[in-house]
């Protein structure tokens, strides 16, 4: 903790340790500052708290002040209060003031400021009722929270690196330098990957103008010299079982098989060239002097820098065709990011091979982002390199085994024919996550595999039976890291590029996205840090991103499990495995604590110490439902990541919100259990709104599929509601981005208006 910083998340540490025998004692602390005291009947609030098991109820005009916090500390020390319900401002502010050691104390925040008094009419009956309900919700949550018992165990603190190319070598060396042992698995008989086969590589340091020899051989030497790196060559993983800190990885290498204890995994399996055979329209296979960029590397490496055509003749005039089979819906729809730079480098090979040699680069867009612009500029200043924008019309064989490329849409405004001794196709990169023969734009969702129909309790389910390929995970959900598009095992996050759906396994380098060696090296460092961090947090029983530090985990009451498999199917992180009967088995260290399993379970048997189906059910029940028709009650389940802050901002802007909503925040809407819907509607609330993150291809859900899972589940709520003779439209999920708070007033009013149309809930008053 800093003695200099202006703010830290310092925990308050009262003098006395709590007693051995644990009994919950709730204190409710109501702040009357920031308009709360001026807008509400505080005495009535105090009574409401006392009526709901709060043994100590106090108010303070400035609760977050030193004096206010000391008042609470005094109750902790002298009255034995161990559960503090803070009815004040948003949980997003004053976190440092209201923070007690989570291993000993329970803290629940009730947002009276932003979400009640700042967004509703002061000293109004409806606002008062809302405040009391929100306080009761907080008390109900606190009462259903048990003390933490973190899962702490001895872990293996080593990193398995899959792939021995630039990314893998760097991951290994970086991890060792940080103090961790490494097992490096490479499928080939030698380390170094593509870089080891290149004559020269792109510049990686300023001024980014000149190509030079790769330093990969130094890296290989360092890896081989390290006594902390176990290198396995000609190696293939035959299975990966377990969870972070406790993986058992079986590797077959040079004919023998061994099972290794592994802590975390970095997948650096790299890339392979796109199948050039498919580029016949660009002359490949049809014209002998048409080669790919990877072949060009082999040619210069094998001939000491001379450019020798497949027919043995020396090429002096070499054309390069960019985006060959790339940015092309028929082949690779994406851009491989490095081919412009590679062709510029290979153009230098050409000009270095002979003083009269010439290179022609035909491009759509030269993509040399960032400081690599200097490299592009160096090529433009190279008299032997010509660059022209254009689109290919035809590629034909010309005299003496050469090639004639006709291009259109040039900068000259007319068709041009280039004659060259040789044509290099700047073909793209395919992730090695895809088995040979798989087509990037025609893949089964999430995993490579085959569609299969399976009969389950819920009827016939169509799912992908995935093929094991590299990691061969023994996970219920699939044997590899899932992908979003084109086979890249990428979570598609902007802010959190190491977000992974397989906790403890991080993809880095070109297996994850096309990138240069310089980017791969940087990526290796990031992935190594995440792998190490996962181990260190797991060792303390703590979750990784995004609920970093959360020490709860799902606990399953197996006696009531019906083996329906919903939890194992829906977990976004593959935490739960199942036995042959379908009984779920938790793997605590894979868990990210989102609660999707809890929401999925129709038997309500999955709980966390501070988050459970009965807890939220109790919170809902604690909302008073008056009989008057002009006081409808609408339960609003909100995602605490985006919807909750969005409501706060509505408060800061003093937007006025409909007073009939009661907010209950969830870790993620994915935790929504359908039993809550039926329970609260049969208790007379008019409707339920769920505000969650956007889902779909550009999902914003921090648990990847949580809000989507919720929406799928709600699709089935119709059945429940028709049994209750209620309209399905009484339940509505909306998607809201964090910065769309301005839409909240309308959004809430509109739904309240829709509900009016159905008339009062017939269960009201029962």
């Amino acid at each position: 903790m800093s003695d200099t910083a202006e703010e830290t998340a310092a925990e308050q540490t009262p003098a006395e340790e709590p007693k051995e025998e644990y009994k919950q004692k709730i204190g409710a602390y109501i702040c009357t500052g920031c308009d709360i005291g001026d807008s509400l009947d505080i005495e009535a609030l105090e009574k409401a708290a006392a009526a709901r098991k709060a043994e100590v109820v106090k108010t303070h005009e400035f609760l977050c002040s030193h004096e206010g916090v000391e008042m609470i500390n005094s109750d902790i020390n002298n009255e034995g209060v161990n559960t503090m319900v803070i009815a004040a401002c948003s949980m997003r502010v004053n976190t440092d003031a209201f923070s007690w050691d989570p291993l000993h104390y329970i803290t629940e925040r009730v947002n009276l400021r932003e979400q009640v008094v700042w967004t509703h009419e002061p000293n109004n009956e409806n606002t008062q009722m809302m405040a009391e309900d929100q306080l009761r919700i907080g008390l109900a949550r606190a009462a259903k929270t048990s003390r933490l018992e973190p899962a702490v165990t001895d872990l293996t603190r080593s990193v398995l690196v899959v792939g021995g190319g630039v990314t893998g070598l760097n991951t290994a060396l970086e991890s060792v330098a940080a103090g961790y042992d490494v097992i490096l698995v490479e499928k080939e008989g030698q380390l170094g990957g593509w870089a080891a086969r290149m004559r020269k590589v792109l510049p990686t340091t300023p001024p980014f103008t000149d190509i030079g020899p790769s330093d990969v051989s130094n890296k290989i030497e360092a890896v081989n010299a390290s006594d902390r790196i176990n290198v396995l060559l000609n190696a293939e993983i035959t299975s990966t079982e377990g969870e972070p800190g406790q993986y058992k990885v079986t590797v077959s290498s040079n004919g023998s098989e061994e099972t290794l204890d592994v802590g975390a995994i970095v997948l650096a399996a790299g890339w392979r060239p796109y199948e050039a055979e498919k580029l016949e329209h660009l002359g490949y296979g049809r014209i002998g002097s048409v080669v790919t960029n990877t072949q060009m590397e082999e040619i210069v490496a094998a001939n000491d820098g001379r450019i020798v055509r497949p027919d043995g003749k020396t090429a002096k005039k070499v054309a390069f065709l960019q985006c060959a089979g790339q940015r092309d819906a028929e082949h690779l729809p994406y851009c491989s990011s490095v081919c412009c730079l590679t062709s510029l480098k290979q153009a230098v090979y050409v000009t270095e091979s002979d003083k009269d040699a010439e290179a022609y680069i035909i491009y759509k867009d030269m993509r040399t982002p960032g400081l690599y612009e200097s490299f592009y500029e160096a090529a433009q200043n190279n008299p032997g390199v010509m660059l022209t924008k254009g689109e290919v019309v035809s590629i034909e064989e010309s005299g003496d085994g050469g090639v004639a490329v006709t291009i259109d849409n040039t900068m000259l405004g007319e068709k041009v024919v280039f004659e060259a001794d040789m044509l290099v196709l700047a073909a793209g990169m395919v992730t090695n996550m895809l088995p040979e023969g798989k087509i990037v734009n025609d893949l089964t969702p999430d995993y490579v595999g085959e569609w299969k129909e399976t009969e389950t309790q819920d009827g016939i389910i169509k799912e992908v039976i995935a093929d094991p390929h590299i990691l061969k995970l023994k996970y219920r959900q699939g044997p590899e890291m899932p992908y979003l598009s084109y086979g890249f095992p990428d979570s598609h996050f902007v802010c959190f590029p190491y977000e992974t759906r397989r906790t403890g396994i991080y993809a880095a380098g070109t297996v994850r996205a096309p990138m240069t060696s310089m980017q791969s090296e940087a990526d290796a460092g990031g992935a190594a840090l995440k792998a190490i961090q996962c181990l260190e947090l797991a060792a303390q029983g703590k979750s990784v991103h995004p609920r970093v530090g959360d020490m709860t985990f799902p606990e399953i009451n197996y006696t009531n499990c019906t083996q329906c498999r919903r939890c194992t199917v829906e977990c976004p992180f593959g935490t739960l495995d199942e036995d042959e009967k379908g009984t779920p088995k938790t793997n605590t260290y894979r868990c990210r604590r989102c609660g999707v399993c809890m929401g999925a379970c129709p038997q309500k048997i999955i709980s966390f110490k501070d988050y459970s189906v009965p807890m939220i059910a109790d919170a809902m029940k604690s909302v008073n439902v008056p009989e008057e028709d002009d006081k409808p009650r609408i339960i609003c389940l909100i995602c605490e990541n985006d919807a909750y802050p969005s409501l706060d901002i509505a408060g800061i802007n003093r937007l006025q919100l409909n007073p009939f909503y009661r907010f209950i925040n969830l870790r993620c809407l994915g935790g929504t259990n359908l039993v809550w819907i039926a329970d609260s509607l049969s208790a007379g609330v008019e409707g339920i709104m769920l505000i969650g993150c956007k889902h779909g291809d550009d999902y914003q859900c921090h648990f990847i599929k949580g809000s989507e899972m919720c929406s799928e589940r709600l699709g089935k709520v119709q059945e429940t509601l028709s049994r209750l003779m209620l309209e399905a439209e009484r339940v509505k999920q909306v998607q809201l981005s964090i910065n769309e708070w301005d839409q909240l007033p309308q959004m809430l009013d509109d739904f309240a208006e829709e509900l009016k149309g159905f008339g009062p809930n017939p269960f009201k008053g029962f």
Binding site: S2, T4, A5, E6, E7, T8, A9, E11, G33, C34, F62, C64, V93, T95, E174, A177, A178, P207, Y334, M366, R367, T368, P369, G370, L371, Y372, E373, E377, M411, L412, G413, E414, F493, V494, C495, P497, Y498, A522, D523, A524, G525, G526, A528, L529, Q533, H545, P546, V548, G549, N641, D642, P645, I649, I652, K694, D698, S737, I738, N739, D742
Partner: protein, 420 residues
């Protein structure tokens, strides 16, 4: 032993990432941020490409990671004045400028109601005003007011002091200098928008309806000066015909020699802003040299190419002029396809101005800069690292990767030092 394992200079997306990633791996980290809030440049953006999601979604998570982790602390309105010593034990002198509002501030907002002085809001590039006491923006972290003393009347007024129930305002607050020792220094000082007025022919500073891409972000944002309306600065007219001039200052020997790496994607993204606002009739034209949408970003480019109301034209903008009668902007293009010069009229023109490393003006004490002003960590002393755009032009995802890698480098230094 040093007070901290890591000092991160800069609290934008890269700096906060470096600090929280290091702290979650067990290191003690402190962020030194010059603004009164964390979040940096990205906090000013309306949306990120390619997901079109709000930057605050991720920032909010990072702020939560900071709030909940005792191993991360931060200073705002603070700058590093000097760095001495060596890896494992740098002595860093930090100047903390006064906020004039202390930690008792509850952000209730009563002070603003009585403040009589207005100031230009630099968060919105001067397009609107705040009071002298202000909250930088609604999502600001820390959620605390600040006083701009360059306009505040001080104790002669003190209306805010009188109205604050919490004793949070201290008009006599003085700057202070704190000395912190640290194992590593990570420079995540980020970037400033390139000063478009330096670019000849584009008349960025004289034509009101020529704006920069950063101004466009603020205009599109619901908490921006126009509350999300994309309208002309000159007359408030809805912008239905917009042009984007790429490489405004970038890839230009007279300005920024490098490519800023994000402006093509940024303009494509901004084209979606206007297409979403006025789906029926808004038209966007992007004038470019090369469209740079690497990797899977190509999918985003393709989606825009499929929109018939979005036109992409290769060619460098030669001249931008105003039709003073209408306020329209006339763009002259050097058309590369042989048809000579072409003129076209727009409601508004957005200059895709590049990113200039903040190090050009900040002149970091202990880092080696390459010729453009980016930090060359490899050439700098051990224990000195760089992340984000301070290191090289990069988008958010790449900045975050680099920042995470920088956290590992810090861990390595700490280990080496403790082994000695």
């Amino acid at each position: 032993m040093a007070d901290k394992d890591v000092i991160v200079v800069g609290g934008g997306i890269s700096g906060t990432t470096a600090a929280v990633e290091a702290a979650e791996a067990g290191l003690e980290a402190v962020i030194v941020e010059k603004n009164p809030y964390l979040g940096g440049r990205v906090s000013q953006l309306f949306r990120y490409f390619p997901k079109l999601c709000p930057p605050y979604c991720g920032l909010e998570i990072n702020f939560r990671r900071i709030r909940n982790n005792p191993k991360v602390s931060y200073h705002t309105q603070a700058v590093v004045e000097s760095v001495s010593g060596a890896a494992g034990d740098f002595k860093v002198s930090i100047r903390k400028n006064p906020r004039y509002v202390n930690e008792k501030c509850t952000s209730c907002g009563e002070c603003v109601k009585v403040c009589p002085v207005e100031r230009d809001n630099e968060y919105n590039f001067g397009l609107d005003k705040t009071r002298a006491i202000y909250l930088p923006h609604e999502l600001a972290f820390p959620m605390r007011y600040v006083i701009d003393m360059s306009v505040c009347k001080g104790s002669a007024c003190a209306e805010c002091v009188k109205v604050c129930k919490y004793g949070a305002i201290d008009l006599e607050m003085q700057p202070e200098t704190v000395e912190v020792s640290a194992g590593n220094v990570v420079y995540a000082t980020g970037w400033n928008p390139y000063d478009a007025s330096k670019i000849e022919n584009l008349n960025a500073d004289t034509i009101p309806n020529v704006v920069t891409n950063m101004v466009m972000e603020r205009m599109a944002a619901p908490n921006g000066p126009t509350k999300g309306a994309i309208v002309r600065p000159s007359d408030g007219k809805e912008v239905k015909k917009i042009a984007f001039a790429q490489c405004a200052g970038s890839r230009d020997r007279n300005n920024l020699e490098y490519c800023s790496a994000v402006c093509c994607m940024a303009s494509l993204k901004q084209a979606t802003y206007i297409r979403e606002k006025y789906p029926e009739d808004a038209e966007a034209t992007i004038f470019y040299i090369d469209l740079r949408a690497p990797g899977k970003y190509e999918d985003f480019l393709r989606k825009l190419q499929e929109d018939e109301k979005v036109t992409m034209r290769k060619g460098k903008v030669a001249k931008i002029e105003e039709d003073s009668a209408t306020g329209d902007v006339i763009v002259t293009l050097e058309d590369v396809f042989g048809s000579g010069k072409v003129e076209e009229r727009f409601d508004m023109v957005v200059l895709a101005t590049g990113m200039e490393p903040a190090a050009v003006s900040d002149k970091p004490a202990s880092a080696v800069l390459e010729k453009n002003g980016f930090i060359d960590a490899g050439a700098s002393a051990d224990g000195i690292h760089a992340a984000g755009v301070a290191r090289r032009p990069s988008d958010v995802a790449e900045s975050v990767q680099g920042a995470t890698g920088a956290a590992l480098k810090c861990m390595q230094t700490v280990r080496e030092v403790s082994n000695v």
